[in-house]
């Protein structure tokens, strides 16, 4: 076992101060400041103005705030802004960027299949799907519903969402619908 270091522990980021945080948001470097306790969801929305990510429960259940952190779908409300420092964050605003400014095939399918009503949960679902379908491009409906169970939607009964995804993954457009995998997941 290594002995206890004789040097004092490194200084933490102080609770009272705002600290610089830099992320790569949808491919662009963006900087802001955050107290250590600031949630990534609040940092994105209110510090950087990226309000496409929504906040529905702030305890990790509803999934509305799901973003990709270094490619991996994660709850922004269960992540501190300071934890995201130096990371790549992808949000719903960037989906079309990766598709030449047009909505992706998945977004288009959501529209065709009425997979959204109030739209509040939609951003999180799209971000989960963009990670998930990179890993599992042709899920069965059961697998898809299992993944979707990490999101609450109160409007659609999920039927249109399932239809939209199955439509896209069953067709040839699926491969163009999503950004290439850059996730560091195993």
């Amino acid at each position: 076992m290594p002995p206890l270091s004789s040097s004092p522990p490194p200084a933490p980021l102080a609770a009272e101060a705002r600290h610089p945080v830099t992320i790569v948001l949808n491919g662009r470097r963006r900087s802001g400041h955050a107290h250590p306790r600031l949630l990534l969801s609040d940092f994105l929305r209110h510090e950087l103005g990226a309000h496409g990510t929504h906040v529905g429960c702030e305890h990790g259940v509803c999934g509305a705030c799901t973003v990709r952190i270094d490619g991996v779908a994660s709850r922004a409300c269960l992540t501190l802004a300071v934890q995201a420092d130096g990371r790549r964050i992808d949000t719903v605003e960037g989906l079309a960027d990766g598709n030449g400014g047009r909505m992706t095939a998945l977004q288009e399918a959501f529209r065709r299949h009425h997979a959204l009503q109030c739209g509040f949960c939609t951003a999180g679902i799209l971000m989960s799907l963009s990670d998930y379908l990179d890993r599992n491009p042709k899920p069965t409906e059961e697998e898809l519903r299992d993944m979707l169970s990490g999101h609450l939607c109160r409007c659609t009964g999920y039927a249109g969402i399932v239809r939209a995804v199955m439509d896209v993954t069953g067709g040839t457009a699926a491969s163009q619908a999503h950004q290439p995998a850059e996730a560091d997941h195993v």
Partner: protein
């Protein structure tokens, strides 16, 4: 619903982390995936002075199957373990149980060690650790110690881990050839906390049933096989186990229902484990 203020430390090394934890004492909490801790911080149920982030420590990314153990470091996520192609051979119970842990999105960040340290009585990972006879490796700035899972959990959110220790890794014994394993869970919705979770192992003439969600910690009991089969008085034995576990009423289920499930699902998983021996 915002966390109370805290200092935040992202140490460069484990040594730094442990030194900070030693200095911070009971006022410091470590965070890795944060899928249990962050909700409690947001709700202000937990208000540490210092948060020490283990999430980027390479030293804690161990995920190996060696010397009869699957070792999972503190920074390894549930998703990473679940994606391990050999998991079903190595620790079949874990392979069966991990899909029940939260959801895809939370498994992407949540860690096994974090779940063990959190010690929710209904959580699947502590149950698997107890069921398989695994161990928890604790480490502070001075020493490392290994605690059998059965001794680690003391009650709801309560373990033997001292304030200056982290769960450095958890270790699951690799399944022995000829052993059988089965896992079932009853919950209100997919991904919810278990009302009852049952994990069974049949190995070397012994059948073991571990139960989560009923008592205030995962608990297990073993019976010798009789002529290669389950004991004839298994129903009585399960009834005794169920009553010993007790269980509580909450808004979703009664204690009696929980005991019923121990008797019924307990038998089912034991039979499954017996019949799927390889």
């Amino acid at each position: 619903m915002k966390p109370a203020p805290f200092d935040y430390l992202r140490p460069a090394t484990l040594t730094e982390a442990l030194a900070a934890l030693a200095a911070g004492g009971d006022e410091a909490r470590v965070i890795a995936g944060g899928q249990s801790l962050m909700p409690m911080l947001n709700m202000r149920l937990v208000q540490p002075r210092l948060l020490i982030d283990l999430g980027r420590l390479e030293e804690l990314r161990t995920l190996t199957a060696e010397d009869g153990w699957l070792t999972v470091g503190a920074a390894v996520t549930q998703g990473q373990v679940l994606a391990r192609p050999t998991l079903a051979q190595e620790v079949p119970l874990l392979a069966a149980a991990l899909p029940w842990v939260g959801h895809f999105q939370t498994r992407n960040r949540g860690t096994l060690c974090g779940s063990v340290a959190h010690a929710d009585p209904s959580a699947e990972t502590p149950l698997c650790l107890v069921a398989t006879g695994g161990e928890v490796v604790l480490r502070n700035a001075w020493r490392r110690r290994s605690v059998p899972a059965a001794d680690f959990f003391l009650g709801p959110l309560t373990t033997v881990k001292a304030a200056d220790e982290i769960v450095e890794c958890v270790r699951f014994p690799l399944a022995k050839p000829g052993s059988g394993h089965a896992f079932r869970e009853v919950s209100m919705r997919h991904g919810d906390f278990a009302i009852v979770a049952c994990a069974a192992t049949v190995d070397g003439g012994q059948a073991t049933l571990a139960v989560g969600g009923v008592a205030d910690r995962p608990s297990r009991r073993s019976w010798p096989l009789v002529d290669g089969g389950l004991p004839a008085d298994l129903d009585e034995a399960l009834n005794a186990f169920a009553w010993d576990l007790g269980g509580d009423d909450d808004q979703h289920a009664t204690a009696r229902y929980r005991r019923d499930l121990v008797r019924r699902i307990g038998r089912t998983v034991l039979e499954e484990a017996l019949s799927c021996r390889r």
